[in-house]
């Protein structure tokens, strides 16, 4: 079905960024506009989700050029689900930023860039054209370059160089892959490619292209041999920025992998094996990396890698149940990871350190806040009925279905290691009597902040924690959504018909 308004989530974020640029000097006005705007963006995303849920995939051809030639935007269930999650965590980060981002950073355009980043994310999820997807990736990384360097602390610049280099490399690989694919088929429209790639007889060449895509998206989503940039850079920017990075940037890569490897390249036995091995090693190396870290933000960075492995495992099993699990895990992970980095920011604001050895005594000093922070922490582990449990349940079921017991073993191992890491974090940071950290002059502590800022920080964590709880307790509904996404991904006929018309 054609609907010209499905690009509204993208355009609205651009509009917000423009409004924010007009009030460049008024910091308080910017905070207000960003928060209210993010709220409206969530409402738009919800309306779109309901519409797509009822009517099926919706399409618009930008510039009114017909499908295989023009730039297509497609909103199927997967796309709108991702847009909804993006706007939700965008709202969380926006409110958190009101409390936690320093005025110096606001002065250099933190809020407009944040909304440009969210615009890029929404665009990537709605793009129905592989080159357009590349363009959105570029918008995402350019905005993230600014966000990661804004403020210009020494550690930040060091981290950003690694981040920039690896992401530019990924873009080059991705662009090369698109060029090869265009040379093979003469088309860039994803629905059209789906038909044309299936007809190519030289499967070796197709597999080669698929591997190029796997490497390009693999660097972006930080899978096993290509993840080194992530733990080296994610702990350097301020927590609000880490939150949006940790929650969403790697997940765009996972989204692109799920989309490309179900729509364009149907993996054969070799690719399935390759993806499974990568998934298993990603889980293992991420968990092992997190075990030995002391900085809580580095622990969370390694846990991102570990849990990207779970989603990749879903793709590696390649059954409907496993994809369902991967989509559910994606849903849960975006919200929880965003929240965890915000939690780490709150812990830093209270104690003035990220070091696990020095942290401590939270439960005694702040019992209510500790219980609040427990929700995202234990959702991550997947203790039933919290949100991570159901996703892993389906992933394991999918693994048993295809008899991939090694991968199931790695998922269980990864879950246990995550449990161990979070339990250690809990006992160290919350139960242990903390050491007295000398007061730092540059840090603005939680109790020194104005009440409004304190409320903003706690409210944003509470908001995302409630969504996590909702995903866990209302799993029945999320499973319905994930089931529909999985069935649409495994059988893209409706998607293709929506874009190209009935054949």
């Amino acid at each position: 079905m054609s609907n010209p308004y499905i690009v509204l989530p993208i355009i609205f974020q651009l509009f917000l960024a423009i409004v924010l640029m007009f009030c460049w000097t008024q910091k308080n006005l910017q905070k207000l506009v960003s928060t209210v705007g993010s709220l409206i963006a969530v409402i738009i995303a919800v309306i779109m989700f309901v519409e797509v849920w009822e009517v099926g995939p919706m399409v618009t051809q930008a510039g009114n050029w017909e499908a295989p030639y023009g730039i297509t935007f497609v909103a199927d269930t997967f796309s709108v689900l991702m847009v909804l999650l993006t706007t939700l965590s965008g709202l969380g980060v926006s409110v958190f930023s009101v409390g936690a981002v320093r005025n110096a950073r606001v002065k250099f355009g933190y809020f407009p860039i944040l909304h440009f980043l969210i615009m890029g994310l929404c665009g990537a999820f709605l793009a129905g054209d592989i080159f357009n997807l590349y363009v959105w990736f570029e918008i995402i990384i350019i905005s993230s370059f600014v966000l990661i360097t804004i403020g210009g602390e020494k550690a930040q610049l060091e981290g950003s160089i690694k981040y920039v280099t690896m992401n530019l490399l990924a873009s080059v690989v991705f662009l090369t892959a698109i060029a090869v694919l265009y040379g093979l088929t003469g088309s860039l429209n994803m629905a059209d490619l789906s038909n044309k790639v299936a007809e190519i007889e030289n499967r070796g060449l197709v597999n080669l292209t698929a591997i190029l895509f796997l490497v390009g998206f693999g660097i972006k989503s930080a899978v096993f041999p290509l993840y080194f940039w992530l733990p080296a850079s994610y702990h350097t920017p301020p927590p609000a920025i880490s939150a949006i990075f940790g929650g969403l940037l790697t997940k765009v890569g996972v989204y692109a992998l799920l989309r490309v490897f179900t729509l364009i390249f149907i993996p054969d036995a070799f690719l399935i094996t390759l993806i499974s091995i990568m998934a298993a090693l990603t889980i293992f190396s991420g968990a092992i990396g997190a075990l030995i870290q002391n900085n809580i933000r580095k622990i969370f960075s390694y846990l991102i890698i570990c849990h990207i492995g779970f989603m990749l495992a879903g793709l590696g099993m390649y059954t409907e149940i496993a994809i369902l699990g991967a989509v559910f895990y994606l849903t849960h992970d975006i919200i929880v990871k965003t929240n965890l980095f915000m939690v780490s920011g709150l812990m830093f604001k209270i104690k003035g350190t990220y070091s696990l050895r020095l942290l401590g005594g939270f439960y005694k000093d702040y019992p209510k806040l500790s219980l609040l922070m427990a929700i995202p922490l234990f959702s991550l582990v997947g203790i039933p009925p919290l949100s991570g449990f159901w996703a892993k349940f389906y992933l394991i079921q999918g693994g048993l279905e295809v008899n991939n017991l090694v991968l199931v073993g790695f998922i269980i191992l990864g879950s246990f290691l995550t449990l161990f890491i979070i339990a250690r974090l809990w006992s160290e940071a919350f139960w242990k009597t903390g050491e007295l950290v000398p007061k730092k002059l540059k840090v603005k502590y939680f109790h020194e902040l104005k009440p409004l800022k304190r409320t903003a920080i706690v409210a944003s964590i509470l908001f995302l924690a409630l969504i996590s709880l909702g995903i866990g307790l209302g799993a029945e509904y999320v499973i319905q959504v994930a089931e529909r996404v999985a069935s649409e991904l495994m059988d893209p006929q409706a998607y293709k018909e929506a874009v190209l018309g009935k054949l």
């Binding site: 054609s2 651009l14 509009f15 423009i18 460049w24 930008a62 510039g63 009114n64």
Partner: protein, 136 residues
């Protein structure tokens, strides 16, 4: 570069180059030209003026901070993109007036988009160059 020849020439070059940039902007769409090149030429006009007469004098001509042109240009661009929504067409569809305008020729939503690009390019390049020359 405070030679009298350069300074005198720059006074004439500024309006000439600005006119030329508008010409390039209007010439775009079907012929080589357009908002990006036009914007670059316009910012070169100001840069030459600032080299010859000093940054302060150029600032006095522009009156406001060039960075302010960025959101204004983006408003033009987003407006041109979203205008087709009013008549129920997809985003970015080209809308054209039926009759050509005198001097300018055919006018469509693409011209407004290009004007937006023109302003954004001037805003960005002048902001960068002014900021760098301030710190020199």
């Amino acid at each position: 570069m405070k030679t009298i020849i350069f300074r005198t020439a720059s006074d004439y070059l500024l309006p000439l180059l600005l006119l030329f940039s508008v010409f390039i902007l209007l010439r775009g769409h079907y012929l080589p030209g357009g908002g990006f090149v036009g914007g670059l030429i316009a910012s070169i006009a100001f840069v030459i003026h600032s080299f010859a007469n000093g940054l302060e004098k150029t600032r006095n001509i522009i009156k406001f901070h060039p960075g302010f042109l960025m959101p204004i240009g983006l408003v033009f661009a987003i407006g041109a993109g979203a205008a087709p929504w009013i008549v129920g067409q997809p985003f970015m569809s080209g809308l054209w007036f039926d009759d050509p305008f005198p001097v300018i020729g055919m006018v469509g939503s693409a011209l407004f988009f290009d004007t937006g690009v023109y302003l954004v390019v001037i805003g960005v390049s002048l902001t960068i160059i002014f900021t760098i020359s301030e710190t020199l």
